[in-house]
Symmetry: C2
Subunit: 180 residues, 2 copies
């Protein structure tokens, strides 16, 4: 699903600015879909040019004018067509995991630092998702919320239970050896 389709999807929930679409993708949707402003704004421009969305400008005091986008009927049909195609494979890139694969090359204080940061990250993400009331969500979004909770909880629990694999494998720094 490209960013144009995701924008159509978010607009199917209700009209929104480019900034608000980004906020949605940084918040409740963050665990399964991310996109940058560099992709969102050109996507909205293309959707507008193709007649799949409409836009109205609202001046604001003390802030840039808002451009509020809304889904057109053509856009709704295009969204349905895209959603009806079989989903492609997940795309994943976890820098933390990729770096931990080479943990034997890393100094143990670095590893401890990275692991601690990662655990905090899990807690932050879980707190964010737990702050959302599932009863107020339509079924699809409730499903996605529960999925995020399940996967973050599993990752968090795994890291807590197995961080010793990382701690024990990391390089002991020379200065620390001397202190020990």
């Amino acid at each position: 699903m490209n960013v144009k389709t995701m924008c159509l999807g978010v607009l199917s929930i209700g009209e929104a600015t480019g900034y608000e679409i980004k906020k949605q993708l940084e918040g409740p949707f963050h665990h399964f879909y991310q996109a940058s402003f560099g992709a969102i704004y050109p996507a909205l421009s293309a959707l507008l040019a193709d007649g799949l969305v409409s836009v109205r400008e609202e001046p604001q005091d003390g802030k840039p004018d808002k451009k509020i986008y809304a889904l057109s009927e053509t856009g709704r049909a295009a969204l349905l067509a895209e959603l009806s195609r079989p989903p492609g494979p997940d795309r994943v890139r976890s820098e933390f995991l990729a770096q931990m694969v080479f943990v034997e090359l890393l100094a143990d204080d670095l590893v401890a630092d990275f692991v601690a940061t990662r655990l905090e990250h899990y807690e932050t993400q879980l707190a964010g998702l737990r702050g959302i009331d599932p009863d107020r969500l339509p079924p699809g979004r409730r499903f996605a919320l529960g999925y995020g909770l399940a996967v973050y909880e599993a990752g968090n629990a795994y890291l807590r239970a197995n961080r010793h694999l990382l701690d024990d494998a990391a390089r002991t720094a020379p200065a620390r050896d001397a202190a020990d």
Copy 2:
């Protein structure tokens, strides 16, 4: 972690061709890092130009010649430097999840099909990871293997337990209504 660094990392395990690096990223590393040939080959070319890897060509009967890349000492140092930087945020894009968020728009037979495919996908991925003997791996790779198992198992279990949210929400197709 960009594709150049990942190539250095895979080469730190042992010399490899571009094709073999891709195979590593399609197999045991797939659940946390993916990259295309379109990125791997230019990355290897750049690494070669920068002196971070060396290459030797081996002719093969019935197949293209092999270009076998090996890490240089300069490359090893560059890898260590990159790995020592704090990991950036995970990048995730799950088309399945993104589409399920808008499940109310989809026909129920499509949803059932997508869910069935997704469950098969989990079984396939889990079978692949379970076929790897963790005792033969160094600690970092053992950790990553276990992480993949934990997260796929959680996602699989969640989908099995909660697919009813999706089934119940999907649109009932008109033709099916008439048949019921």
